[in-house]
């Protein structure tokens, strides 16, 4: 009788997998920790200290910077502006992104072309967006006023009147980011099983009923993602303001991100600037947490 030597298979324990995973992830985690969480820690530390005009730490002041910032009317105004800006940007951008996705999600060469056209602003460097809008809305040489003058309306001081400057900045932001929102919704739409739409059609649902009662609820996760990313973008909006208005006219576009930039790099008050940053980030975390909860998906399919 022949005995067949059997190879003993080494049984891997779950611990082996975790260890291997840890080893493989370690470099990336280390980099994330070093370039993301260490600076956050430094910012929090800086917010608890007073700094000289030369940028040297002077003394630990605890929460004094926060008290100063939260009683500073100009920072509170910049926060309020930012919240209003976000409140305008989020619904408009989601509506535009969803509308574009619903119109363009069927496969065709024309739809593919339009999708690319709509995504181009989202991949254009944001400073370039600012320059484009400067060219469009300059009072004397801008294309918009050239058109308005030609049709007899007359020049509008787009960038030098507070209300219109705010509108231009909002339009620049929404125009740039709507394409990205469209991508999020396109991904969500392609994940909806075709049988669901077919079943609805068989049951007699019209287009509006199909969209509002079937597609939109099934896009809940996409809406959640789009809302959170748009909120974060709204609160961090900076570059076009730097190019177009520098926070003016009359502080009309002095949103929190720009205000913090000025505090840190023009006025060189590192303690105050970092305290403002901590407050802004905390506000973003709170708002996005609420959004994640309120917009959570309540069903699976």
């Amino acid at each position: 009788m022949t005995t067949t030597a059997t190879r003993r298979r080494k049984i891997r324990s779950p611990l082996d997998s975790y260890r291997n995973a840890a080893v493989l992830l370690a470099p990336t985690v280390a980099l994330i920790f070093l370039y993301k969480y260490v600076p956050i820690g430094q910012a929090i530390w800086a917010s608890l200290n007073a700094f000289s005009v030369a940028g040297n730490p002077l003394a630990f002041v605890g929460l004094n910077n926060f008290v100063h910032v939260l009683t500073d009317p100009s920072f509170l105004q910049s926060l309020a502006l930012t919240v209003i800006f976000a409140a305008v940007k989020i619904p408009l951008q989601l509506t535009l992104g969803l509308g574009a996705a619903l119109l363009l999600y069927r496969s065709s060469a024309f739809n593919s072309f339009l999708r690319v056209v709509l995504i181009i602003p989202a991949i254009t460097p944001i400073a370039i967006i600012g320059i484009i809008f400067l060219f469009l809305f300059d009072r004397e040489v801008g294309l918009t006023n050239a058109f308005l003058t030609a049709v007899g309306v007359g020049r509008v001081s787009w960038l030098t009147t507070p209300a219109t400057a705010q509108a231009v900045v909002a339009v620049a932001s929404i125009w740039r980011d709507a394409g990205f929102t469209m991508l999020i919704y396109l991904a969500g739409l392609t994940a909806i099983p075709a049988q669901v739409s077919e079943a609805a059609r068989i049951d007699g649902a019209n287009g509006w009923q199909s969209t509002t009662r079937i597609i939109l609820p099934m896009l809940q996760r996409s809406t959640q993602l789009a809302t959170v990313t748009t909120t974060i973008a709204a609160f961090q909006f900076f570059a076009p303001i730097f190019v177009l208005t520098r926070g003016g006219p009359q502080d009309a576009t002095d949103v929190a991100a720009y205000h913090i930039y000025e505090e840190a790099f023009v006025f060189y008050d590192q303690g105050t600037a970092n305290a403002m940053s901590v407050i802004l980030v905390s506000l973003i975390v709170v708002i996005t947490t609420v959004e994640l909860y309120v917009l959570r998906s309540r069903w699976e399919y």
Binding site: T161, P249, Q250
Partner: protein, 446 residues
């Protein structure tokens, strides 16, 4: 016992040698009383702004010293937007350039923050007397001199000669006959009305104010208008307290408020100035007068409107002729490892010989009085008014250690006023903001 060289003994001896080599220069440097007197370096590094005429001129001015000392001078550039904060961060940096271009009005702040080396011992009293006064005022702190100017700037009113000839207007060229602002306003209203009627559109204006980066002209040009409404030595004329920390009572005087109103009227009520930052209007023949500095006018017009016939008339004023000048300066970071050599290079770059090279390569006004009649290009009809203005009417911009803060808030204030903001509220807020920012420098000044 063996006396042969073992691996262990080699390592020990090598380590001791290495320690000595590392500690030696530090010990020597610590014992030395001069600024980082190090062995002669093979190269010196410079940090400049990305302005080609200045870079080319600086390299030319440094050539003879570099050749005589066997030291190569290399220049790197920093983006405009990062310039000020890069210089401010020098004390925290492990490596810094040996020489840096710094902005004249910002020099006092850098000196107060101990960023730059005092350069008194590298210049003699004759040099200090020879430098144009408006270029040294901002470079002095507590009796020490922190860096010579690369050139002097100036401001005057460039005008489109063909256009003015068409309307029979001959602007003065002598400083003593300079127009006042009200006189200029009347002339501009007339020209603008007639020219717009001739063109059939509103794409023509009387004047463009400044270099094109600020509506309202910014502190460099817009503030000239305001300060000129004060008698010489008055608070309006001074624009800031003597310690450079307070603008209340200086930037909000009744005369200053009149000046702000005039500025706003130029843009809004009279519509004589475009609400746009583009300086191309002059090159395109859409502007009659351009209040600017010689670099921008001479170089810009030569490049972009080479066939234009243009002239220069003195800067207008209300009560007291005044033109803010001063330009780039050469500074030596205090923590440069080659500070002594760098300071010697700086001193040589602004010597009478090399100072002329430095200015003439930029077609700019030299930093020394003795050089004002040495360069032929200064006698050019276009440069003559700029040069006379620099020698007779020039004052430095408000001298304050918090220049970045002052400049930003004040320029934004002028832009808001120029675009129609309530003057009283805008000035009140800006003055309060500036004072609270400058208060942080009290311990450095008082």
């Amino acid at each position: 016992m063996s006396t042969s060289l073992t691996r262990r003994s080699l390592l020990v001896r090598g380590g001791l040698l290495g320690l000595a080599a590392a500690a030696g220069p530090s010990l020597i440097a610590a014992c030395s009383s001069s600024p980082a007197s190090s062995a002669k370096p093979a190269t010196l590094s410079g940090l400049w702004v990305p302005y080609d005429p200045l870079i080319d001129a600086s390299k030319a001015a440094a050539t003879s010293w570099g050749a005589a000392n066997g030291i190569q001078f290399n220049i790197a550039t920093v983006p405009w937007a990062d310039w000020d904060r890069t210089v401010r961060a020098f004390p925290q940096q492990p490596t810094v350039p040996d020489v840096a271009i710094v902005d004249g009005p910002a020099l006092l702040g850098y000196a107060a923050n101990d960023i730059l080396l005092p350069l008194d011992r590298y210049f003699n009293p004759r040099d200090m007397q020879d430098f144009l006064p408006a270029t040294t005022a901002s470079a002095m702190r507590k009796g020490s001199f922190y860096g010579p100017a690369t050139n002097e700037s100036s401001q005057a009113l460039a005008y489109n000669k063909d256009l003015l000839d068409r309307y029979g207007i001959t602007p003065p060229t002598e400083l003593g006959k300079a127009w006042t602002w009200p006189q200029l306003r009347e002339i501009m209203i007339d020209i603008q009305k007639r020219e717009r009627a001739a063109r059939g559109n509103d794409q023509f204006w009387g004047m463009f104010l400044g270099q094109g980066n600020f509506i309202g002209g910014g502190t460099y040009t817009g503030l000239d208008l305001i300060r000129s409404n004060g008698a010489k030595g008055s608070n309006t004329y001074k624009a800031i307290s003597d310690d450079g920390l307070t603008v209340t009572g200086y930037a909000d005087t009744p005369e200053a408020m009149e000046g702000y109103q005039f500025l706003q009227d130029l843009y809004i009520r009279d519509g004589l100035t475009p609400q746009s930052k583009s300086p191309d209007f002059f090159y395109n023949g859409q502007i009659a007068f351009w209040l600017t500095d010689p670099d921008v006018a001479v170089t810009g017009i030569a490049e972009k409107a080479p066939t234009m016939k243009w002239g220069v008339t003195p800067h207008p004023y209300f009560v007291t002729p005044i033109v803010q000048t001063d330009s780039y300066h050469l500074g030596v970071p205090k923590n440069s490892p080659n500070a002594d050599w760098a300071a010697k290079l700086v001193a040589d770059m602004v010597s009478p010989t090399n100072g002329l090279i430095l200015a003439s390569k930029q077609k700019a006004i030299p930093m020394r009085k003795s050089l004002l009649d040495k360069a032929d290009y200064l006698r050019d009809a276009h440069m003559q008014v700029f040069t006379e203005t620099a020698s007779q009417w020039a004052v430095p911009r408000p001298i304050t250690p918090g220049w970045s803060e002052y400049d930003t808030v004040y320029s934004q204030m002028l832009a808001d006023i120029a675009t129609g903001a309530d003057i009283s509220k805008t000035v009140s807020k800006a003055v309060s903001d500036i004072d609270s920012q400058l208060a942080r420098y009290q311990s450095l000044v008082r």
